[in-house]
């Protein structure tokens, strides 16, 4: 009895020894060299795997970073300058300065401003509604309000406001990975340059139609009247396709366009209240961009 046990142990041990020797040589033969720096870079990256960098995931991006000659065009929007800085330090390269951005919705068509002319009764999916018909309102460019962006956001930065029927983007949570931009079938989410104190001035409209039809569909539509272009002293505003656009790089946050816009489609966010309503109405606007 004890001999059987002993023999079994000896036989199996010899078998294990041989197998391990064979496995060792095979492993040596088929060894794949992997740059150890990839692991190091990956450890620095945020591991969100959001795809905001344009790569399949953080590992894929780390490989690209190690392989790249320069960091031109490579940026992790989630980690921002800090992460890119430490990656650059690790690889002995220089990270280009990339301005942090944040997602903004270019539509302000609440039920109050943009009346519902029909009722959509199909599947709750923006893409389906967009392919099927114009949507519940008469605006073929605006938000459909079915929340594809909310579902696309892996950072819990977007939620639906049931009153305005529009998505709300939380600046603090948004990492500008661009998942919502890709998910939106109407392409009305933009990644805009972040400013101090999360201040924003932008045109909340995407309607490319002429003034008449745009205004009929929505009270706060851009009618491309050009008043904002005239009032802007910094050439930051351009009109293309019947739609005004404010260049965030040129804008100095003087807020003149906001008061000038006849349809109130240019909005200011995170600004302190204006000095006095009477002053604004009289055309006296504070020129100091830092207020």
């Amino acid at each position: 009895m004890s001999l059987t046990v002993l023999l079994t142990i000896i036989c199996l041990s010899i078998l294990a020894l041989f197998s391990s020797i064979i496995l060792y040589f095979i492993a040596q033969k088929f060894k794949v060299f992997e740059d150890p720096r990839i692991d190091e870079v990956q450890a620095v990256l945020p591991a969100a795997n959001c795809g905001g960098c344009g790569f399949a995931g953080c590992r894929n991006f780390a490989e690209a970073l190690v392989k790249a000659e320069t960091f031109e065009g490579l940026n992790c929007p989630v980690g921002g300058a800090t992460v890119m800085g430490s990656v650059a330090k690790l690889l002995g390269k220089e990270a280009p300065q990339v301005d942090p951005t944040v997602a903004v919705l270019l539509c302000n068509g609440t039920p109050e401003f943009r009346p519902r002319t029909s009722r959509y009764n199909g599947a709750s999916d923006c893409r389906i509604s967009h392919n099927l018909y114009i949507g519940e309102t008469d605006c073929s460019y605006g938000c459909l309000g079915l929340g594809d962006c909310v579902r696309a956001c892996t950072f819990d930065a977007i939620h639906m406001n049931s009153e305005t029927e529009l998505p709300v983007i939380i600046d603090d949570k948004c990492v500008s990975c661009g998942a919502c931009v890709k998910a939106c079938p109407r392409k009305i989410i933009e990644l805009r340059k972040k400013a101090k104190k999360d201040r924003k001035i932008y045109v909340t409209c995407s309607n490319c139609e002429k003034g008449g039809p745009a205004r009929r569909a929505c009270k706060v539509a851009c009618i491309a009247c050009g008043k904002c272009v005239k009032v802007c002293a910094f050439d930051a505003i351009t009109i293309e396709n019947n739609l005004a656009y404010i260049d965030a790089n040129k804008c100095t946050f003087c807020r003149k366009c906001v008061t000038e816009c006849p349809t109130s489609c240019i909005i200011e966010v995170n600004f302190p209240p204006r000095k006095s309503v009477i002053e604004v109405e009289a055309g006296v606007v504070n020129d100091n961009p830092n207020v």
Binding site: T117, S118, N121, G122, A123, D125, R127, I128, N131, L132, Y133, I134, G135, D138, S140
Partner: protein
């Protein structure tokens, strides 16, 4: 045993309210809007300018490319403008706006009631005439007919199938046409046979239209080669592939055309339009439209000029009932709800249905209960529940593998689903995404 297709199918309540209403002429409206894209293929190029005087039947937009179609004015009057108009989807597309003045037809059109039996034109001339007259498939798909009639070299067509099935509930435009214009339809079939160079044509009609079957069967012996066949009532029998299977027991393989199995399918409405174009020189600017609904006071079938606003049709049918919850352009299964009664009637409009509020709501969506009713209903052997899930999750490559592009969007799965799942909505989304993916792959 009546013939039918073997796989899948559903039988919704027929509700053919207007089956006994004779076709009337809808008065010419005071203005019409004629979109330049009323067919599958390239939009036609507008040939008229603001202020031009056009006559009824005059060409106002020219076909661009092989798969395209001419557009003719349906009224006489002045061109008010060429602008964008809201179509049935609510999106804008270019159209010609015409203010009506009198009703002066182009002289070459034969307006008499005389039936001309003898076909003088040759096959090629017939195809040319179809192109010139802007004939498209009037069953709903609006595929340009001249393309279907041109048999490419290397392929052979030995039998023509005429679709008089009208399997959609409510609609009766083809039914009335066969009853009232039976002779013209059969002459049209003879013309199509000549164009395709075949000597056999089968007319398939569902058995809920016995009067039409009897009428055409009585007339058929005068026309050599044409036989009329009654089919079992089952949706979607009017689909090309299903009708071919039911009538001549040939199966069109996935991704192929009926021509690959030696046949071509045309609608009875198209046959009538071809008759008018070839024998009467009348381009396609008028079609039969069913206006129906349970609450309408005067539902009926009308000869409607293309470009007439749907509003005029509803007025003719006794005005919009108060309880209207949804207006559907087309049949209840494949049609599309419209959000505006100013949209014009186009070549593909077979009917307009007004649903009362209680019938216009979709069921509340609940979870899939794995009953597999959608699989039983699918006439194409697909698995709708799976295709929906794949589209929902964006797994389009797998969806392509599961043959999502075979789906003809008949809606039988959505109709039958006891859980009220929006199967077709998601399958449509998946189908467009897969088709886009395939196009991009082929471009590379």
């Amino acid at each position: 045993m009546l013939k039918t297709f073997p796989i899948g199918g559903v039988h919704p309540p027929e509700n053919k309210i207007t089956a006994d209403a004779a076709i009337e002429f809808l008065p010419v409206p005071s203005s019409v809007v004629i979109p330049v894209t009323q067919h599958i293929g390239a939009p036609a190029a507008i040939m008229v300018n603001k202020g031009d005087y056009v006559r009824t039947g005059q060409k106002i937009a020219e076909s661009k490319g092989f798969v395209s179609s001419n557009i003719h004015s349906s009224v006489s009057g002045k061109v008010n403008k060429t602008d964008l108009v809201t179509d049935t989807s609510g999106y804008k597309q270019p159209a010609v706006f015409i203010d009506v003045e009198g009703d002066e037809w182009v002289e070459t059109i034969d307006r008499s009631n005389e039936i001309i039996t003898e076909v003088k034109l040759s096959g090629e001339e017939i195809i040319k005439k179809c192109l010139e007259s802007g004939i498209v498939g009037l069953g709903g798909a609006t595929f340009p007919s001249h393309v279907k009639l041109t048999v490419p070299s290397g392929k052979k067509c030995d039998v023509l199938i005429i679709n008089g099935v009208e399997c959609e509930p409510y609609l009766t435009s083809d039914h009335r046409l066969m009853l009232e214009k039976g002779e013209e339809v059969l002459i049209g079939v003879t013309i199509l046979m000549k164009a395709l160079n075949v000597n056999k044509a089968l007319v398939g009609i569902e058995n809920n239209k016995t009067d039409a079957i009897n009428h055409l069967t009585k007339l058929a012996p005068i026309f050599p080669g044409i036989t009329v066949h009654a089919l079992k009532v089952k949706y979607p029998q009017g689909a090309e592939k299903q009708l071919i299977k039911a009538l001549i027991n040939r199966e069109v393989p996935s991704g192929r055309l009926p021509l690959d199995v030696g046949t071509v399918v045309h609608n009875v409405g198209t046959a009538y339009a071809v008759y008018e174009a070839v024998q009467k020189n009348k381009p396609l600017f008028e079609r039969v439209v069913t206006i129906t609904g349970k609450s309408l006071s005067k539902p009926g079938n009308y000869f409607v000029r293309i470009g007439t606003p749907v509003r005029c049709l509803i007025e003719a049918a006794g005005g919009m009932p108060e309880d209207t919850g949804k207006i559907v352009n087309g049949g209840p299964l494949m049609g599309k709800a419209i959000n505006n009664t100013d949209v014009p009637v186009v070549k593909g409009t077979s009917g307009v249905i007004l649903f009362p509020k209680e019938e216009s709501q979709r069921m509340e969506i609940s979870r899939c209960i794995r009953c597999a009713k959608c699989i039983d209903a699918c006439a194409l052997n697909l698995e709708p529940y799976l295709l929906m899930t794949l589209s929902e999750r964006g797994l389009f490559e797998r969806a392509e593998h599961e043959r999502i592009t075979d789906c003809m969007e008949c809606g039988a799965c959505s109709y039958i689903c006891p859980a009220g799942r929006p199967l077709l909505d998601y399958i449509r989304l998946g189908k467009t995404s897969v088709m886009k993916m395939v196009r991009e792959r082929n471009m590379k």
